[in-house]
């Protein structure tokens, strides 16, 4: 089979096209953050119930969305490595895991910083918060497994299985606010009828969500390039590139 993604999905081509794309993505990302932060902090009105504290939404919700999105990316990439032996898939999974863990950490901390003034407590052992904490442990487990197993292929296979089993947690997190009683508010954006949030408050949230996604793509690309350099260090093209760019 000579499909185009076969070529562009090889580590060598990924390295060059991701490098070519990065400056554009970085520019786009900075622009999105500038507009998102400006509209979120200055243009959006204060909430009639929560006052100015609701502005935490613009760093909390995108981080929480990313914690789930990155898990899907990581599990799919790891699955492509497990099933079709796509080397790049294993590398993308390894590159994504720490980012997913950091976004989960941010979702938990910014959430508790929002919870304290609004609910009166930093933490409550309800379904949403507990399942999100379990997500953090899934990421950390995956990372620890990669660090503990020396044989790269065994580590990738074990990691892929952990990542795939862990996907059962994703719908639990998503529906937790509907299935169980909780202090956490229900879905406001993804409701099938009109979202129950004013457009002037929703727009900055969507811009920040795109900014976070582009940020993840840029950083994941850079981390994947590091994985490629580490594990293909004996490939002729890597040596050539290093002699070209590296300082001896």
């Amino acid at each position: 089979m000579n499909l185009p993604f076969h070529k562009y999905g090889s580590p060598k081509y990924f390295y060059s096209w991701s490098l070519m794309l990065s400056p554009w993505l970085i520019g786009f990302c900075v622009l999105l953050f500038a507009v998102g932060l400006y509209t979120g902090l200055f243009v959006a009105p204060a909430d009639y119930q929560q006052g100015e504290s609701f502005r935490i939404i613009y760093v909390h919700v995108p981080a929480a969305w990313m914690s789930l999105f990155i898990y899907v990316v990581m599990a799919s990439a790891a699955a492509s490595g497990l099933i079709w032996h796509v080397k790049l898939g294993d590398m993308i999974a390894r590159a994504s895991a720490p980012l997913g863990a950091w976004f989960t950490f941010l979702a938990l901390v910014t959430g508790s910083l929002w919870g304290k003034p609004m609910w009166g407590t930093y933490w409550v052992w309800d379904a949403r918060l507990t399942s999100e904490l379990i997500l953090l442990f899934l990421y950390l487990g995956y990372i620890a497994l990669q660090g503990a197993i020396d044989d790269r292929r065994v580590a990738a296979r074990a990691g892929a299985i952990v990542a795939l089993v862990g996907t059962v947690n994703l719908p639990i997190i998503h529906y937790s606010v509907e299935w169980w009683n909780t202090l956490h508010q229900g879905p406001t954006v993804s409701k099938l009828d009109a979202p129950s949030i004013a457009p002037s408050m929703l727009m900055p949230l969507l811009i920040m969500a795109v900014a976070y996604t582009v940020y993840f793509v840029v950083v994941m690309f850079a981390r994947t390039r590091c994985e490629i350099l580490e594990f293909e260090r004996n490939a002729a093209w890597v040596k050539e590139r290093a002699l070209e760019k590296g300082v001896v």
């Binding site: 006052g51 901390v109 390039r225 590296g246």
Partner: protein
């Protein structure tokens, strides 16, 4: 921007802690791989250079 803006209606600690922590984590995670990539390229270049001189 004035004092009223930074006061965040009395929620300054919670709002700015959230934004500050997010900024630190995102910036650190953006710069570390860029530095690592340079370091890896240098290391490979040095190794390739070394084996060339030895042979």
């Amino acid at each position: 921007m004035d004092a009223q803006f930074f006061a965040m209606g009395g929620y300054a600690f919670f709002v700015w802690f959230s934004y500050g922590l997010s900024a630190i984590v995102l910036l650190a995670n953006a710069f570390l791989p860029a530095r690592k990539e340079k370091m890896l390229l240098n290391r490979i270049a040095q190794r390739v250079h070394g084996t060339k001189e030895n042979s």
